[in-house]
C-alpha cells in the first residue's frame, strides 16, 4: 500500500528554526514568504506529494507545530481492518 500524507504546520507557532526543513529527506518543506504575527517566515509545505510520512519533520520540531495525516481511501481502511481482525 503506498500512502499519501498531509503535513500541517502551525504557522503561528512556527519560529522558523528550519530544523524540519533540514531533516526532511524529501525536500517537502521550505520557508514561507510571508511573516507570521511573531515576525517569523514560518516553514510551509512546498511539495506535499513527495512526502513519505517518515515523521522526521515532526520529530525534530521543537515547537510541536507539525501534525501529519495519512490520506486513507475507504478501501485501505477495510483492508487495514481486515488485516487486524485476521
Amino acid at each position: 500500500m503506498k500512502h499519501s500524507y498531509r503535513v500541517a504546520i502551525n504557522a503561528e507557532h512556527c519560529k522558523a528554526c528550519g530544523l524540519c526543513i533540514e531533516f526532511c529527506p524529501q525536500d517537502v518543506l521550505g520557508f514561507a514568504s510571508t511573516r507570521n504575527d511573531a515576525g517569523f517566515y514560518p516553514a510551509e509545505v512546498q511539495d506535499q506529494a513527495n512526502c513519505i510520512g517518515c515523521l522526521r519533520c515532526a520529530m525534530m520540531c521543537p515547537d510541536a507545530c507539525i501534525e501529519i495525516w495519512r490520506l486513507v481511501s475507504a478501501d485501505d481502511r477495510v483492508a487495514a481492518a481486515e488485516s487486524v481482525t485476521r
Partner: protein
Amino acid sequence: MHQEIILAGTGGQGIQSAGQVLAQVALEQGLDVSEVSQYSPEVRGGWVLSTVVVSDRRVGSPIVQMADCLLLMSQRAADDNKGRVRPGGLVLVNSSLVELPPIPEARVVAVPATEMAVELGVQQIANMVMLGAYCKCAGTLDIVYFDQALQTVLPERHHRHIPLNLQAVQAGVEVVIASGE
C-alpha cells in the same frame, strides 16, 4: 529643555545601543540624561524598549510612561506602544517594517529605515537612520556629537564601523529633509 523619548523594537534591532547613543549625544551636548533599557523575558524574538529622558536640569524620574517622541522600529513594538505619545508629540516609524494607522494629535513621520540601511550595506544600522531622523525632526540634539558619542558608547572593536554609522545618521537627517516634513 526636557524631552522624553521611547525607542521600541524587537531583539536584534539595536534598540538599546540606539538609546545609549542618543543619551550620549545629549551628554556631549551638556545636557543631563537618563536612559533605561527593558526587554521581555524571552531571549530571542522578544520586545526591547529604551526610554531616554533628556533635560537641561538634573533628570528626576527616569520613568517614561508617555513620551514626547516615539521611535517605532517593528510592527509589534508599534502595535504595543503606539499609544504612548503625548498630544502634540512626534512619532517616527520605521516604515520598512511597520504599517501604522494615523495617530490623532501626533506628528507621524515615516522613515524607511531598514531599507535605507540595507542600501547602505548593513541592515543593523537602521537604528542610526532613525536617530538621524529624530534629530532632524525634534531639533533638540545636534548630530555633530554623534562621532564622539559613538566612540564612547561602542566597544573599541566596533570603532571601524563608526563612519558607516555616521553615514546612516546623515541619511536619516536627509530623508526627513527630502520628505519635506
